[in-house]
Subunit: 130 residues, 2 copies
Amino acid sequence: MERSAKHFRKRDAILACLRSTMEHPSAEWVYETVRGQIPDISLATVYRNLSLFKEQGLITSLGTVNGVERFDANTEPHVHFICTGCGSVLDLHGMEVPEALNSAAARESGGRVDSCQLSFAGMCGNCARN
Amino acid sequence: MERSAKHFRKRDAILACLRSTMEHPSAEWVYETVRGQIPDISLATVYRNLSLFKEQGLITSLGTVNGVERFDANTEPHVHFICTGCGSVLDLHGMEVPEALNSAAARESGGRVDSCQLSFAGMCGNCARN
DNA sequence: GTGTAAACAAGAATCATTCACATCAAGGAG
DNA sequence: CTCCTTGATGTGAATGATTCTTGTTTACAC
């Protein structure tokens, strides 16, 4: 049975927020941003829905940057650059993880490979200048 | 000036512990393990020295697995397999991150690349069977 | 209306990590 | 040897991100 849009107002707003940004945001960032439209949303709702989306495969986690988890609504495999200065995260385009690595990983681990993550860390242009 | 070995007894024990295991351990694991030899070591000392070693480049961090940070005394670039079931981490040998990606990352990010991490996530042989 | 189930808010609880501060050990100067 | 400085440490409190608990609200089915 279809549910009304209103029933999922907040859940949808959280997902829409993630999908409309290139920020690779934290839970806190999503909370602050969604609060602009829906002032009575709570942080627990953001956390609850983020982990739901993650289970459902609608978003992925980049892991933690400076102790806080960062999310990405772009579930296509792609490469990240993480600035250790300011914590910003960029997508790097035009780079593929060679497919051969994936099956080699499955073979070597003796198990099942679900995902793969390639990321570079360093200083972004801004932070490198300071 | 050289310092006596005794002055760094605990610091050295922490580093030795990291170097003698393939566990990719957490701070807690290091604490419990070193405590076998040095019962009066404290968890703060473990944390303190781990972040010191990290600054000095003697160890690297894998990032967090299930909310806890994991360390690796093998600073050679290599690939990891992380089991999302039991949290174990394996080294995958015979895989290189193509060098071309590194310079492409530096170019695209407009900054400086310090490190690179490639990891696969999935279920290890044991966990996949359950 | 009544019942049901999911979504939610608020705040408490948890847990990894860090901090503040007092203490201790080692080495050098006198 | 005694004083002094320096860095390493233990203890316990503090922090901060994340999760849990409980009671409330919402939308829908009957």
